[in-house]
């Protein structure tokens, strides 16, 4: 244990899970009923789309960009999922594939013209939102039954949301952190010049990462619409901020290709639970919004402790 304490990197990697566990412990003491299959399921099933959106954001952050459009994109996918997909599955899937292609094209455009990704994705957030409003001017639609059935699956022993999150974290970790292709993709965030000099195409890496972002964005939107059963053009706008916060909470950094898929998924779960805690506390309505901020701050204050030990070790 002293060994772990002495190693700041390990300590830092442990930070997200420790925060999550502490938060869970607090919730369980306040509301013991949460400590059950049903309780965990209720608290966490809406975390899954957030976790997916966070992973989507992570793909873009890994190549030193930021996607300000992911929330609007997830909303659009939810709208597609509640309108086109049930009526015409083939067309729906084609639309989703088209969206992913647009994402890849964005990556190419950003690389080719050397554009600030943040501006392009800011513009895209309006484009996606506009498309969603055109598709679904007023809330409605209904998700295909199979989709709802999938995301509301009752798995034995451990709730689906937890299983799926764990699987997501694991798969993305294996791909991005362990596979030989993932190394190149992350390297393009760490030192693009070096990767280019070693003979790799930066254009392809950027397109790949953006396409992945689109892919996970699609999964997030589908998962969301499966849970809510119907859509709304504004449904997930806040995912943009949540997903960025989740990546950072999970130990990622904005530049340098330093990301952690497992941390990011845990970050997304932590953000969701921080909201839950509030419902279990009794706080005057005036201060409820503030309490949300205070909870976040408390969860993050752990970092300060770690940094202190880190400085002492240095």
């Amino acid at each position: 244990m002293t060994g772990a304490l002495a190693n700041p990197r390990l300590l830092r990697a442990l930070l997200p899970p420790v925060s999550l566990i502490l938060l869970l412990a607090v919730i369980f003491t306040i509301q013991p009923r949460a400590m059950s299959y049903l309780g965990l399921n209720l608290m966490l099933n809406l975390a899954l789309p957030i976790a997916l959106a966070t992973i989507a954001q992570l793909c873009v952050i890994a190549v030193n960009d930021l996607d300000l459009s992911i929330g609007a994109f997830v909303s659009l996918v939810a709208c597609i999922g509640a309108t086109i997909l049930p009526e015409n599955p083939a067309l729906g899937l084609a639309a989703l594939a088209g969206c992913i292609a647009v994402y890849a094209a964005l990556g190419a455009l950003i690389h080719w013209r050397n554009l600030p990704a943040i501006v392009v994705t800011l513009g895209m957030s309006f484009v996606w939102l506009g498309a969603a409003v055109l598709l679904l001017p007023s809330p409605g639609g209904s998700a295909p039954a199979w989709l709802s059935a999938v995301v509301k699956l009752r798995t034995p022993a451990i709730p689906f949301a937890i299983l799926a999150s764990a699987l997501l974290a694991l798969l993305v970790h294996l791909f991005l952190m362990r596979s030989s292709l993932g190394v190149v993709l992350r390297g393009a965030g760490g030192n693009p010049q070096a990767v280019r000099r070693a003979g790799w195409s930066l254009l392809k890496t950027k397109m790949a990462m953006y396409a992945l972002c689109g892919f996970f964005g699609c999964l997030s939107g589908l998962c969301l619409v499966g849970l809510t059963t119907s859509a709304d053009a504004n449904i997930a706008l806040r995912y943009t901020l949540l997903s960025i916060a989740g990546v950072i909470l999970g130990g990622g950094e904005f530049t340098g290709g330093r990301v952690s898929p497992i941390g990011a998924v845990i970050g997304a779960l932590t953000l969701t639970l921080a909201g839950s805690l509030l419902t279990f506390l009794r706080i005057s309505p005036d201060w409820q919004i503030g309490a949300q901020g205070a909870i976040l701050i408390l969860v993050l204050a752990l970092r300060a402790l770690v940094n202190r030990t880190e400085r002492r070790a240095a």
Partner: protein
């Protein structure tokens, strides 16, 4: 050991360049270079900062395509068509002057970036074995774990990793025929540099070719078979190494032959008398306390990455009143050696990079005066000979050595009384070095204090007092007259065997 297979008989040219030219806007970096590299030889490349050496190498590996000229690899014309991948196919690889590792990846993952063939099931194991094997071979006793994150490694070890990943010969890769080393030893200490040079000889004797760029003439003279001297974008001299002496080489580079560093620059005063302006202990403990007095040049020695830079940073923080271990009276300035991470502001002009440390002095009514700023920049451009058409150009248009000069100018041009130097001569050419040595001595005589970490023994000769570091501690303290290379080496390695 890389064994270049099917090596042609030694002596035939492997690559040949004729009248190669390249301009960057107004700067004519290459003005018609003729050069060939033969199989089985080590070709040395010397020349002042900004002579065009790095640019020429970028041409050779396909990163920069030349504006004019012919360029053949094994007789085949490749001018304008060479890409990085094709160059590697032809067996050409390069250790660049500015580090080309991804700091967010581990050592073995960086090897993967360099070697596209490392993929598929079990690639991590293969990559780790490959890089460890090569590191063991070139740098025995390197102590680098393949899982270590590159950003955690000190500069010297990063350089070792980069060199090893270039020399590594993957299983299904085209055999390595020509390795370009652009100032590979600038951040290595002497013993590690010697290991590298020995490996270069082995590689060459097995039939490979090496181009070695360095400002340390000793290593060029001892390692290379032929030496080309570049000046202002041309090759101005090319002879067998044996035909050069140190003096004639310096002369060919267009510098006045000067004396060995330090020897004639010894100040008249000896003994430690001035007031102590800086003192520090290493946070890791150790009984010897560093002390620097007014007007002194204090050297920090030892193997690279043994706590010298941390101590300098500590002293720097102490001047802002934030250290338990160190105390400094007066203002400090820092000359970075690791210029990418510690020194350069990449978006700014050369002038902006020089004046940043002095802005508060250049003010009028609380506003920075652009005219005075320009004057300061111009003054140092001439004093330290920064090669550029315009100080308003971006700093990154400068060659590596010239960027380093700008960082020197930043510190020397400031009002600092204590100047901390973190192995600042990396990549600076020999002529400039002599001038900087003289400048440092002159400033010290005027009362400035220098604390100077260096990996080159010769530079310690300029110092009044030397502290040797090992494992984050100061293990020896040597006065000017006690200083010998043997004693420094002995203190650096002492206890290593135990």
């Amino acid at each position: 050991m890389p064994h270049p297979t099917a090596a042609p008989p030694p002596g035939t040219p492997f690559v040949a360049l004729a009248a190669v030219a390249k301009s960057f806007g107004a700067v004519r970096a290459l003005r018609g270079v003729d050069l060939d590299v033969r199989s089985g030889e080590c070709l040395g490349l010397a020349g002042h900062n900004g002579a065009g050496k790095s640019t020429l190498m970028q041409v050779l590996v396909g990163n920069v395509s030349p504006d004019e000229g012919r360029f053949t690899v094994q007789g085949e014309d490749v001018a304008g068509r060479l890409t990085v991948a094709r160059a590697r196919q032809a067996g050409i690889a390069c250790v660049f002057q500015e580090l080309s590792l991804c700091p967010n990846l581990s050592v073995l993952e960086n090897a993967r970036i360099r070697h596209a063939s490392l993929k598929g099931f079990g690639w991590r194991g293969r990559a780790a074995r490959l890089i460890t094997r090569t590191l063991d071979e070139i740098f025995p006793g390197h102590g680098i774990a393949p899982q270590a994150l590159v950003s955690d490694l000190p500069l010297g070890q990063r350089q070792m990793v980069e060199i090893a990943s270039v020399f590594a010969q993957g299983d299904h890769e085209a055999p390595l025929r020509l390795v370009i080393l652009d100032e590979p030893t600038s951040s290595l200490d002497n013993s590690v540099a010697a290991q590298l040079l020995a490996h270069v000889r082995r590689f060459v004797s097995a039939g490979g070719s090496v181009i070695l760029i360095s400002h340390i003439l000793g290593e060029i003279l001892s390692t290379c078979d032929r030496i080309a001297v570049m000046s202002d974008g041309r090759v101005v001299d090319l002879r067998e190494a044996g035909a050069f002496t140190r003096a004639s080489l310096v002369e060919a580079m267009g510098h006045v032959v000067s004396h060995e560093a330090g020897e004639t620059l010894v100040s008249a005063e000896a003994g430690r008398r001035g007031a102590v302006v800086a003192s520090a202990t290493t946070p890791k403990g150790g009984s010897i306390r560093l002390e620097a007095r007014r007007g002194e040049i204090v050297g920090l020695a030892g193997l690279a990455g043994h706590g010298q830079t941390s101590l300098l940073v500590l002293l720097h923080n102490a001047a802002q009143g934030r250290s338990r271990y160190a105390a400094v009276t007066g203002r400090v300035a820092f000359v970075a050696g690791d210029r990418q991470t510690d020194g350069v502001f990449p978006l700014w002009s050369i002038g902006g990079n020089v004046t940043v440390r002095s802005l508060s002095r250049l003010g009028r009514f609380g506003l920075v005066d652009p005219a005075r700023e320009k004057r300061l920049a111009e003054e140092w451009r001439t004093r330290i000979k920064i090669r550029t058409p315009d100080m308003d150009d971006n700093i990154l248009t400068l060659s590596g050595g010239n960027q380093q000069k700008a960082l020197f100018a930043r510190a020397l041009g400031s009002d600092a009384e204590v100047i901390l130097m973190d192995d600042p001569m990396r990549g600076v050419d020999i002529g400039t070095k002599q001038e900087v040595y003289a400048l440092v001595r002159a400033e010290a005589d005027k009362g400035r204090t220098f604390i100077w970490y260096t990996t080159e023994f010769d530079e310690l000769k300029s110092c009044d007092h030397t502290y040797v570091f090992r494992s984050g501690r100061i293990v020896a303290e040597l006065g000017r007259h006690e200083l010998t290379e043997a004693r420094v080496l002995q203190s650096s390695f002492e206890g290593e065997a135990a």
